[in-house]
């Protein structure tokens, strides 16, 4: 049984990363409810294995646990697909994961910014998971290459090539998408 000191240490080092954990889970599972399940499961597991964690910066560590929980959950899901997959709800989420759009004064610029933002989110969601996770960890969580390598359990060189490849894919999709909407240059 973990003693009180360990629990207090967990509370101080791991609990504050809940938003980062949820955001990562959201992008990996692409579903808010599943993201919650994954984070819950990850925290349970993290608490159980907290004894193996050394150091003060627990963020990469807990993000790694969350990442694995997400893939386990998706794996289980594939094995037994949910009975009521709601295309509508999932499709809607692709565009607006509950974030606030700030409107610049120029309505046209605002429309372009919004369109671009939606496209970025849509194409990022559509990327294969290995590129998506590298990009999200880099751009959203601001992780270093070394941290990404730790979280995704891959060599440093692979981090570099996945980020580069992911960005090229996204760039191509975005260029095509913006053109299609008539908001490109």
């Amino acid at each position: 049984m973990l003693d009180e000191l360990e629990r207090a240490r967990f509370e101080r080092l791991v609990l504050p990363h809940m938003d980062a954990a949820f955001s990562l889970a959201r992008w990996l599972t692409r579903d808010a409810a599943q993201a919650q399940d994954a984070v819950q499961e990850a925290y349970l597991r993290a608490f159980r294995f907290f004894g193996t964690f050394r150091g003060e910066d627990a963020r990469p560590w807990i993000l790694g646990v969350v990442r694995n929980a997400c893939y386990r959950l998706l794996e289980r899901e594939r094995a037994e697909p949910a009975a009521q997959f709601d295309e509508q709800a999932h499709g809607e989420e692709a565009v607006a994961p509950g974030t606030v759009v700030r409107f610049p004064l120029d309505p046209e610029a605002a429309a372009i910014a919004r369109a671009e933002r939606e496209l970025v989110q849509r194409y990022l969601r559509a990327l294969p998971p290995e590129y998506r996770e590298a990009l999200v960890l880099r751009e959203l969580h601001g992780c270093s290459y070394r941290e990404i390598a730790q979280i995704a359990d891959i060599p440093l060189g692979t981090v570099m090539s996945r980020l580069a490849r992911g960005r090229r894919l996204l760039q191509r999709a975005l260029a095509a998408g913006l053109e299609e909407r008539g908001t490109g240059t």
Binding site: M1, L2, R7, A8, F10, E11, V14, L15, M18, D19, A20, A21, F22, S23, R26, W27, D31, A32, A33, Q36, V39, Q40, E41, Y43, L44, R45, F47, R48, A89, E93, P97, G98, T99, A113, E116, R117, V120, Q121, L124, L135, V136, R138, E139, L140, H141, S144, Y145, M160, L163, A164, R167, L170, Q171, L174
Partner: protein, 223 residues
């Protein structure tokens, strides 16, 4: 440095992950090569779009409070600490741990009642009372939609002639929330001022139910 080499290292350069010497070589090449300079500009633009497109999200309240209840210091109920001991006693069995977890979540379960017909409103309120009695900590939101909005209009009475409003107010005091679908009001030409003050308006009843389920962890009950 060649264009090929530059292309290979450009991402690491933009990410500030290139060592100083390689960085200097790359900058030297960029100054003399318009092609690679344009690649750099595109890459930087993509990063700006990406950072605008993905933002850190706040963990939903339900998840936050569950995790806090689990791992924060304040005194916990007897059920919780007992359950925790059980979870620890079964290492490696994630499914069991999860089941226990779900068990704990029961005191703060969230349920959305969907009322779509005025005929079932009385039954729904009776179920509501029973539900609260059996699970006093349950959080219930009632979403009224289609003909189900009628009992939340001023002066509405049940089949035996009793007014709904006082009952609704009593539920409100116990933490139950009532939400009325504005689409329904518009479609049926009902002025929003006819809705009793105890009930709130939401743009779409269906969207509200979807939101409660997908984002706030509510389970759904149709009445």
């Amino acid at each position: 440095m060649s264009c090929k080499e530059t292309t290979r290292l450009l991402d690491a350069y933009v990410d500030g992950e290139l060592d100083l010497a390689a960085g200097l070589h790359l900058e030297e090449h960029l100054q003399s090569c318009a092609h690679c300079g344009a690649s750099l500009a595109r890459l930087k633009a993509l990063r700006t779009s990406l950072r605008r497109g993905v933002e850190l999200e706040t963990a939903p309240d339900g998840l936050r409070s569950r995790l806090r209840a689990r791992f924060s210091a304040p005194a916990r109920g007897p059920g919780l600490s007992r359950g925790w001991g059980l979870a620890l006693a079964a290492p490696g069995i994630a499914a069991l741990a999860l089941a226990l977890w779900l068990g704990f979540a029961v005191p703060e379960a969230r349920v959305v009642y969907h009322i779509t017909s005025s005929a079932t409103a009385s039954t729904a309120l009776r179920n509501l009372a029973n539900h609260l009695q059996a699970a006093p900590k349950v959080k219930i939101v009632v979403v009224a939609h289609n003909d189900g909005v009628d009992f939340l209009l001023r002066g509405a009475r049940d089949a035996s002639g009793e007014a709904f409003e006082p009952a609704v107010r009593r539920f409100l005091e116990r933490g139950v929330e009532f939400r009325v679908c504005n689409n329904t009001l518009e479609r049926r030409g009902i002025n929003a001022s006819r809705v009793i003050p105890a009930a709130a308006l939401v743009p779409s009843g269906i969207a509200e139910i979807g939101r409660l389920q997908s984002q706030e962890g509510y389970s759904y009950m149709r009445l």
